[in-house]
Symmetry: C2
Subunit: 188 residues, 2 copies
Amino acid sequence: MARPDRKIDLPVSQVRRYLEPGPIVLVTSALGDARNIMTMGWHTVMEFAPSLVGCVIAGGNHSFEFIRRSRECVINVPTTALADKVVGIGNSTGAEIDKFAEFALTPQKAQRLRAPLIRECHANFECMLADATLIEKYNFFIFEVVKAHVAPSPKHRETLHYTGNGIFMVSGRIISRRAMFRPDMLAD
Amino acid sequence: MARPDRKIDLPVSQVRRYLEPGPIVLVTSALGDARNIMTMGWHTVMEFAPSLVGCVIAGGNHSFEFIRRSRECVINVPTTALADKVVGIGNSTGAEIDKFAEFALTPQKAQRLRAPLIRECHANFECMLADATLIEKYNFFIFEVVKAHVAPSPKHRETLHYTGNGIFMVSGRIISRRAMFRPDMLAD
């Protein structure tokens, strides 16, 4: 049985393996005694080392001020087992409810941050704000992943990929083209 | 039979339906009489209207100067049928070969740009550089999609999602959670 609560460290330069395929993620944050969870589909890897991830967090989100002021968050990757919770989290606001309680998710202490991890997600990336330049204009936050925790197996889990309109694509089969790659393209 | 060469217009505010799930894309560009194709996995939707997409295009790519100087490119979305070409394009350089000829892809005239579309891709998004602020520091280009062409069916195609290390995830089944969404969350 998958045990998403038992995790190992992943070198932060390898978070692209989880984020580049484009899964919907759950972003956790904390401010004072409050904490929150939001769904996020607009993110991209930006660099291997430092490990940078760029994310759009719209100003209307209750999490926006939490993250802008605390300068940190956790990017958690859910599997399809959490599909209904992901949708519920995206369609409610932390201004009204405690989403951890409401959706029966377990906050777990992060190693480097005050924002909590979500135990039920198979990967948790602890992020610190690295560049705030484009927040005002585009709600675009550039984070550095400072610590990465992943469930050791299976390597490829069923993730959710949002296509708008209430419709998700679920990750499918895995194909290798390693033999066709130049060796220097396979480092990460 | 799928006819990726017969396309219809998509409102540019809806390109998220194609890009948010995180497919690997082929970026075409032109400078003078030269043209090129590169693969790109690091991109994110940033806004609906104007339709903004942020992309990392590393300085080592032959396409980097084409795009920086021409201030435009086309984001083309390939299906799994093009998997071997996608890998070949990512493992070769336009400094040595004409990738359209080498990989037997058909350049097609764009409507708003000089950069060509790739006919064999099922979606083509014509992009103009909207913000160059972060190019120098992060190789991060913010484009506005000014015209979008998509094959009308099927709606969900098998796309390739890169996980590093020569391994791709192929898009899988489609699930709807429309019934669980607040109506105002379903606009796009």
